[in-house]
Amino acid sequence: MTGQMIFFIIFALIAITGAVLIIALKRISHRVVSMAFSFMAVAGLYFLLGAEFIGIIQIMVYVGAITILFVFGMMMTDHRNISFGPDPRKWQQALSFVGVATLLGLMLYGISTLDMHESTQPFVGSVEAIGLELYGHYFIAFLGSAFLLTSALIGAIVIARKEAD
């Protein structure tokens, strides 16, 4: 077993455990921390693949920004327990179990039959490659998403101001 394999297993376990704990834990602050751990482990997987830039962007955006956003949401809102009725019916549970099992089966089938051939370029996720693609081939889409985010930001400020008045 190589070192890479050992680290892959460690990161994968942390990522999956974190993702499960987000659903399973009771307190929202604990969920946020387990989410941060899960995101960090995914970033570690990117590092293992040699896609360092994507890994670090994962840390910056998800751990650094999204988690903080969630914590602010947790602080600024009141916490009530909202659930869908007191006891979920037996057939609902069975139906959701069947649905999830089917999805898992389909995904496992897809992954196991995936035809992965060795890439000729070892570093796909390098800064230069991403920069050239983003500012060359996908320039219009890049600008479009920038406009969308700016308008969303302005909209959020307008809504917040209206509530403050």
């Binding site: 602050s29 941060a36 840390i59 910056m60 914590v71």
Partner: protein, 319 residues
Amino acid sequence: MDYLLMFLYAVAVLMVLLGGVTFAILAERKVIGAMQLRPGPNRHGPWGVFQTIADVLKLLLKEDVIPANADKKIFVLAPVLAFAPAFSVMAVLVYSSTVGGADINIGVIYFLGVSSITMLGVLMGGWSSNNKYALFGSIRGVAQMVSYELPLILSIIGVIIMVGSLNLTDIVNYQANMGMWFIVPQFLGFAVYMISSIAELNRSPFDLPEAESELVAGFFTEYSGFRFAMFMLAEYTYAIAIAGLATTLFLGGWLGPAFLPEIVWFMLKVVAVMFIWFWLTATLPRARVDQLMNFGWKVLIPVALLNIVLTSIYKVWMG
């Protein structure tokens, strides 16, 4: 074998860092003392050298108090979450042309990305304490760190445009070839970097998250004993790391006349940067929250953007 070497390097850096933090705290107290015309700590050992060691021993022997209404798991985890990223950024710092951490192509972005996690520790510590002072401190801390991370990153972009690489070794080698440190052509960037790093580190005059006259001790009010020591260790580790990045980016890293080894030059420059921070701590009064936010968004970010525009024009002009 590679992993063993990496592990040994990390342990060695940690050991050097613990010594460095011990003497950084002593140096801060001595420098501020001298500036205020008092001797500073002078009881333990000659010139007070063992003062911090005694302080740390005291903190380690203290009772570990966890408030009854605190969120215990998060409370215990927060000091670790504060220290881990501050120490992880050391992985890419390069101390001389032979001694250094990981030589990856995205060194600068790694540093900035990982350092943005430190605020999670601040936030979790303040929130889990279940204490109004701690909560105020952590909200202030995160607002300040989010706001000042932007000018910090923007001030570095000028250097990156000039060099055309994110690798810290390349940046130092470029300065060696240019025959000049980046503090001269990138002075605007250096000024913005120094100011926003003070806010990022929660140091005076921007120490609002731990303003002792308003918030007792800010986000770590409820912490005592070795957990408190962990927060202090994280703060000074992060300070040393940011001073190391400033040295690499703006002060030529390990470059210097050959009569001293390269690593000594690096450390001397780190000490010089930290001395500037101590100096400001001793001389300036604390800023108000609104002044801090206005200054960050309306002065520092425009100045940093101006620096980027000027650097781009220069780069295009010169080819």
